[in-house]
């Protein structure tokens, strides 16, 4: 099988598996006061320190969560509530139009249920937010800003530090969803200037169900999950010791290997793009045309295949052993036209005709070869199907 869907999830790294397995047979609640508890707590705190070091954060900034969705929800709702509590005039949220649904839907929920207003920051045709858009939208009524580090569909990297500067000038906390960025590009929390940063372990070789919101210690954030108050009273829930050990090991590996991995993936990905465009000359690359790792994730390739339905093409490629993605699907599994492509100014046909191929640490040239061999006949078939069923 050619697995070209690392942006959905990437296999666990051996170091993470090992670290996790070492804890799975243990006993001790990390909040217990006896020696077994202390031993477990030590693993948690060492994991926190490792993760913090890998991300340019202080250990005290790290709030462990169950993953990207929880981190995004905690940041959006928690920052909104805390900022509004301090000043009831702060009810506006500024978020980019290309955020992941974990951010989009959390914002929309606040609009529907908590009296929030939202201003969606537009993106250009490559999916990037212009910092001037933020500058003109921001004001004293803004509760928070949320702009992702890198887009999950088209891989466009946002000017996070510039945006965070503008937010800081106005004293507004900025959140960034860095779920796709960690491991693929350098991510330094302190240097970025953001107040909160979401990450998910399984996107960079850690386990499912473990992630973190890196949240500046001084940033006020209202809790979503009430209970034991394990994480700075911002997040409750018994520590998942093995998962956190795996998460930390993966984060360290990701930080150590990021440069080398990015270089290798970029070379593979550039080859993939060249050869797919060679096999299907009218395919179009979506997102940043410059393939520089400063502006586009090195493992991301995203195309529209005019005249195809993305879901039909996905099925045909799947039958040939190639795993890729159409962007978002609803809970029943129905492929939806990507809001990201629509926000970039593309029409629904182009959005529906798109597929994402994403590379990760286990990718190799054989994966690209398999795709290149399968793509042209699959596109031809999908086009026929699209014409016939219209």
């Amino acid at each position: 099988m050619a697995y070209l869907d690392h942006a959905a999830t990437t296999p666990m790294l051996p170091a993470a598996l090992e670290a996790m397995a070492a804890q799975l047979g243990g006993v001790g609640n990390a909040s217990s006061l006896h020696s077994a508890g202390r031993l477990a707590r030590r693993v948690v705190e060492e994991s926190r320190e490792t993760l913090a070091a890998a991300l340019g954060a202080r250990p005290g900034d790290v709030v462990f969560t169950s993953g990207g969705t929880e981190s995004d929800n905690l940041a959006i709702k928690g920052l909104y509530w805390a900022r509004r509590a301090a000043d009831p005039a702060r009810i506006r949220i500024l978020a980019s139009a290309v955020e992941h649904h974990a951010v989009l839907d959390a914002v929309l929920w606040l609009v529907e249920h908590e009296g929030a207003d939202v201003t969606w920051l537009p993106v250009d045709t490559v999916g990037r937010v212009d910092p001037e858009e933020l500058r003109s939208a921001i004001g004293p009524d803004v509760a928070l800003v949320s702009v992702m580090w890198a887009n999950n569909e088209v891989g466009t990297i946002q000017p996070v530090a510039q945006l965070a500067d503008i937010a800081q000038e106005h004293g507004v906390p900025m959140h960034t969803d860095a779920v796709q960025a960690v491991g693929q590009v350098p991510v330094d929390f302190a240097a970025s200037g953001v107040a909160a940063l979401s990450l998910a372990g399984h996107k960079f070789g850690g386990p499912f169900g473990a992630g973190a919101l890196v949240l500046g210690r001084e940033v006020a954030c209202t809790s979503l999950l009430h209970g034991g108050g394990q994480e700075r009273d911002v997040r409750s829930g018994t520590f998942d010791v093995p998962a956190l050990a795996g998460l930390a090991a993966a984060s360290q590996h990701a930080a150590d290997q990021q440069g080398a991995l990015a270089e290798r993936l970029a070379a593979l990905r550039d080859d993939l793009i060249d050869r797919v465009l060679g096999a299907v000359p009218d395919a179009v690359l979506n997102g940043e045309p410059s393939l520089d790792a400063a502006v586009r994730l090195p493992g991301n390739a995203h195309f529209s295949f005019p005249g195809c339905e993305g879901d039909a093409l996905l099925m045909l490629l799947d039958a040939r052993g190639i795993a890729c993605s159409t962007g978002s699907a609803c809970s029943a599994g129905v492929a939806r036209p990507s809001h990201v492509l629509l926000a970039m100014g593309h029409d629904e046909a182009r959005a529906r005709a798109s597929l994402r191929f994403s590379l990760g640490h286990s990718s190799g040239p054989a994966d690209v070869d398999a795709l290149v061999e399968a793509i042209a006949p699959s596109v031809e078939r999908a086009r026929l199907a699209s014409r016939r069923s219209r």
Binding site: L316, A319, A329, A332, G333, A335, R381, S389
Partner: protein, 359 residues
């Protein structure tokens, strides 16, 4: 053969697909998402559109070890089936949405796409049989769905497989249990799948608004009461009629005619519902055209009685003369012709009458 199995999430389609796997076909499962927003559609496990059904379909595919996808046909379904359903009722007709879905979605949009994607046929859990490429009734008379398939042409039927048509429903359930399919005991779906609570009249009223009018005696024209939308009534209906005066003979009265233009609902005794001549348009033969006039059996509803009849073709449709009257036939219904168990074809009722009693 490379076949596409439509998995509704129910027991019939799951067993049909499993039999196709056993028969050696290369099966791919597909669940058709027909509701515009699956999360908003019916809850529970009875329909064909809910999230739970999508999951049941997925789990059935898992058990069989076949690939599974969800195809979004919500736009097509709304345009071809739901809007048609509303328009037909608005015109005072009585449509059959299952038949329309087979005609325009399952064996049109889905079949066309499947063929283009390289499949040879579509497998469904319909209770019907194909014998030498010709559509026949199912073995289980209580479950027979040949009526709602009688709009398919020979070409469509050539690319269809109905693996459970030769089994009784009880046997299909037992087989699902043996195969450890989790849907073995799932209740059957009965109602219109896009009307979650089964309240068709209420659903139509929300879409068509109130159009009050008179309830009149079909013979005398006397006004007997009022209604707030003629479309909510079907020929043969007795319940829901707010008649202020009892009939002179004390016998129940039924809707005998729905006239949406004048908002007039005509009621009469049961005998006024008797019909022995039917004309229809949208004539469709499911196989070779029979020698005409054809001695055959005619059936006017999904599980109604088939009555001996003679069918002739008119310039613009079909005329069916019944040897004995059937009760309550409404425009919009399908009249399906059979030769013994074989389906000859169908037409959509445009006019019906009685040689004994004029309507």
């Amino acid at each position: 053969m490379k076949v596409l199995a439509a998995l509704s999430g129910g027991v019939d389609s799951a067993v049909a697909a499993a039999r196709a796997v056993d028969a050696g076909h290369d099966v791919t499962g597909v669940h058709l998402a027909l509701a515009s927003d699956p999360a908003m559609s019916r809850n529970g496990a009875r329909g064909c559109c809910s999230l739970e059904d999508a999951r049941d379909a997925r789990r059935a595919a898992d058990r069989m070890g076949v690939p599974f996808y969800v195809w979004d046909l919500a736009d097509r379904f709304r345009a071809e089936v739901v809007d048609d359903f509303v328009a037909e009722y608005a015109a005072g007709h009585t449509p059959n949405p299952c038949l329309r879905c087979n005609e325009r979605i399952k064996f049109a949009a889905v079949l066309d796409r499947a063929l283009a994607l390289g499949f040879d046929a579509v497998v469904t859990g319909h209770y019907a049989r194909l014998v030498g490429g010709l559509l026949h009734r199912a073995v289980d008379p209580a479950k027979d769905q040949s009526y709602v398939l009688a709009v398919l042409t020979a070409d469509q039927l050539a690319h269809a497989l109905f693996p459970i048509g030769d089994s009784l429903k009880a046997a299909v359930r037992a087989e699902a249990r043996e195969r450890a399919l989790l849907v073995a005991d799932k209740p059957d779906s009965h109602d219109v799948c896009f009307i979650p609570d089964g309240d068709t009249a209420g659903w139509l009223r929300r879409r068509l608004g109130a159009h009050p009018g008179a309830v009149v005696d079909a013979e005398t024209g006397d006004i007997l009461g009022h209604h707030d939308g003629a479309y909510a009534f079907t020929v043969g209906q007795r319940r829901g009629l707010a008649i202020e005066r009892p009939s002179p003979d004390g016998r129940p009265r039924y809707v005998v005619d729905v006239d949406v233009v004048s908002a007039r609902l005509a009621v009469g005794p049961a005998s006024a519902l008797d019909v022995d001549v039917i004309e229809g348009d949208r004539l469709r033969w499911c196989g070779p055209v029979p020698t005409l006039p054809a001695r055959c059996l005619a059936q006017v509803r999904a599980h109604g009685e088939a009555v001996p009849a003679t069918a002739t073709v008119l310039a613009d449709g079909l005329r069916v003369e019944l040897q004995r009257p059937v009760r309550a036939v409404a425009p919009g219904q399908a009249v399906v012709l059979y030769s013994e168990d074989r389906v000859l074809g169908s037409a959509t009722v445009t006019w019906r009458g009685s040689t004994r009693l004029a309507l």
